[in-house]
């Protein structure tokens, strides 16, 4: 077969959303790859300029359907940095706990989609089943399953409902057991290893140079986690270990994410035990001051940044969102070239694509 271009997307099962990966193949081997995005562009940054500070909150939920709380929280964190607002201690702990639950839910959705990509449908439904537990918890907490709108500028929307701590601990204990069961489908499966080891290698230097962040970066051997190295909220007081893997391949990304879920369980437990009593919210100011501020968090997919410029009115003058996947996708060519068509699915699946935040 001569070389030909194949469009993987925008309507393609591999893409997990709407984007187009144009690959040039020589037989089954990829010789070039051009990712094209923008199919889900909603003009978020322009919308933000036309909404007041409290109104933007629910919209930031829509940045990423997989981990909406981290973006909602990032927005509130950024605006609190701008307004120099000190939030109650209990709210900080609740936020940390919910962020980690969201991380588990997001990683579970990743592993579900990844398993389905590789043709392993049992993995898909098992992971979705456990994700449901955490979604139920979040639903009891915030009242919604996917777009929580739980963080507020100045704290969180409401205190924990009754029995929440018990349910959360029970869920975490159950989930840790289930994670070991998952390993039978993935780590103990020869075919899974065959499909993952040595596939999609992104070297450490490449990863840093291309601005890749999050689990993808840590799987390339850089042990850097914003939660640990530039702690926000109360991560300073919580004992956990950022996960990394020297493999640089899809299997490394799998290992990093699985271990991160285990660490998240630990963090949830600690946050629940260390949580002080007290108020969960201070009043949300109406107008923001002049000046700029930056918020930087560890999203499940990488480094999430919001940069806000206020002009002293009740609307932000400029709110810029840095989405991790926007940058990771630009490194797609580095990861893809030299592998087979079947590996496209594994490689693009392993970076956990979410187009909502990429296209903004």
């Amino acid at each position: 077969m001569a070389e030909m271009w194949i469009n993987m997307g925008p309507q393609h099962p591999m893409t997990h959303g709407l984007w187009n990966l144009r690959i040039k193949v020589d037989g089954e081997i990829i010789v070039d790859a051009v990712p094209e995005i923008g199919y889900l562009h909603r003009g978020m940054e322009k919308i933000f300029e036309h909404r007041t500070y409290p109104q933007i909150g629910p919209i930031t939920d829509r940045l990423c359907y997989g981990s909406s709380f981290t973006w909602n929280h990032l927005y509130c964190l950024t605006i609190e940095n701008l307004m120099k607002l000190e939030i109650p201690e209990r709210a900080k702990y609740i936020r940390v706990m919910v962020i980690e639950m969201q991380r588990i839910a997001s990683h579970l959705m990743w592993i579900a989609a990844y398993a389905a990509d590789l043709g392993l449908l049992a993995g898909f439904l098992w992971a979705m089943r456990e994700r449901e537990i955490f979604l139920d918890l979040m639903q009891a907490l915030s009242g919604s399953r996917l777009t929580y709108n739980y963080a507020r500028i100045g704290g969180v929307a409401a205190d924990l409902p009754s029995d929440f701590e018990r349910d959360a601990l029970r869920a975490v204990n159950y989930f840790e057991k289930k994670l070991e069961e998952y390993e039978a489908l993935y780590r103990d499966s020869k075919i899974f290893l065959m499909r993952n080891q040595g596939i999609g290698v992104l070297s450490k230097e490449d990863a840093i140079n291309r601005g890749v962040t999050g689990p993808t970066l840590r799987a390339s051997g850089v042990k850097y986690d914003i939660r640990k190295d530039q702690p926000y909220e109360v991560y300073e007081e919580i004992d956990f270990e950022p996960q990394s893997s020297p493999d640089c391949d899809c299997y490394g990304r799998y290992v990093v994410r699985m271990n991160e879920m285990r660490e998240s369980c630990k963090i949830i437990r600690q946050a629940l035990s260390k949580m002080p009593q007290g108020p969960v919210r201070v009043k949300t100011p109406l107008i923001g001051p002049q000046g700029d501020a930056i918020g930087r968090v560890e999203d499940p997919r990488g480094e999430g940044i919001m940069y806000v410029i206020g002009d002293g009115s009740e609307k932000p003058y400029r709110l810029k969102v840095r989405s991790p996947l926007f940058v990771i996708l630009s490194a797609a060519r580095q990861m893809l070239v030299g592998y087979k068509i079947a590996d496209v699915v594994a490689i693009m699946g392993s970076i956990d694509v979410c187009m909502g935040e990429t296209d903004k």
Partner: protein
Amino acid sequence: MQVNSEPAKREKVSFTGLVLKPMWATLVQVVRNSFRGKPNTVLYPRERLTVPPRYRGKHVLSFTRCIGCGQCVKICPNDCMWMKKINDPDLGKIERPGVDYSRCLFCGLCVEICPTDAILMTGEYELSAYDRKEICFEPEELRADDFPVREPKESTLLPALDFDRCKGKEECAKICPVHCIEIVEIEKTGRKKPEIDLSVCTLCGKCAELCPEKAFEMKEKLIVMFERPLPVFDPAECTGCGACSRACPSDVVYMVEMPGTEKTKPDGRKTKPKKLAVFVLEKCIGCGRCADACKFDCLKMVPESQLRESEKEGVRVE
């Protein structure tokens, strides 16, 4: 072109052992959910989902509790709510919000900002329809007057002044144990208004107990966690039309006559005196309807925090 080479660590392929392990895992799963419980699926139309009490579904609206301030409409990020003018047999001419569910984000900000807990999101989640118009709910369709509030907002008891009753006897200022009440004379009207400094007030309720005219009343006011603007009044431009007083949903604005401004008509009869607006800001919920209603630009909404700063600078506020 950068070509990634296959790393050397790739192991030899053997299908025994490591293929059987995942198959064992799925077998365990089958045995478990065939004999020790049931599958995870909810058979949706037959079995109903139980939603938690905080679930954010369709709204209900209490017509009696709602005061028609329209703050829910203002905070809605997607402009999915509007105020509808209704002629109700019991409540008279009122304005109540309706919700367009084809645009609603179900964010719950409207519930959060409501100063009277009059709007609430229920656990009803089946809202699909064949037509967009069918999910555009008028206020009458959302009406449920006496629904129980699941998680009532925290409230404080504030001394609310009924300025019509107040005769300006200055009893309250004398009684107040922390001396937070200051009697202010309102220019041109000859009346005196007790002004409460809420930063000092201990909410003891003595003023309400001992007021001879029963002008003070301890009223419950819900604490809303959004900072809100307060009206700043410039009396120089005021014509005394009373539009703000009519627009105000919570009796903040009182129109006070200014004696001595009566004009004698050619036939000898005297006109009614001009009026001046007086604001009792303790009761204000910050909806800004007075500023919208004022045609003479003598009202302006300023955020609370800025208001306190401007007070220090000596701008007169009533």
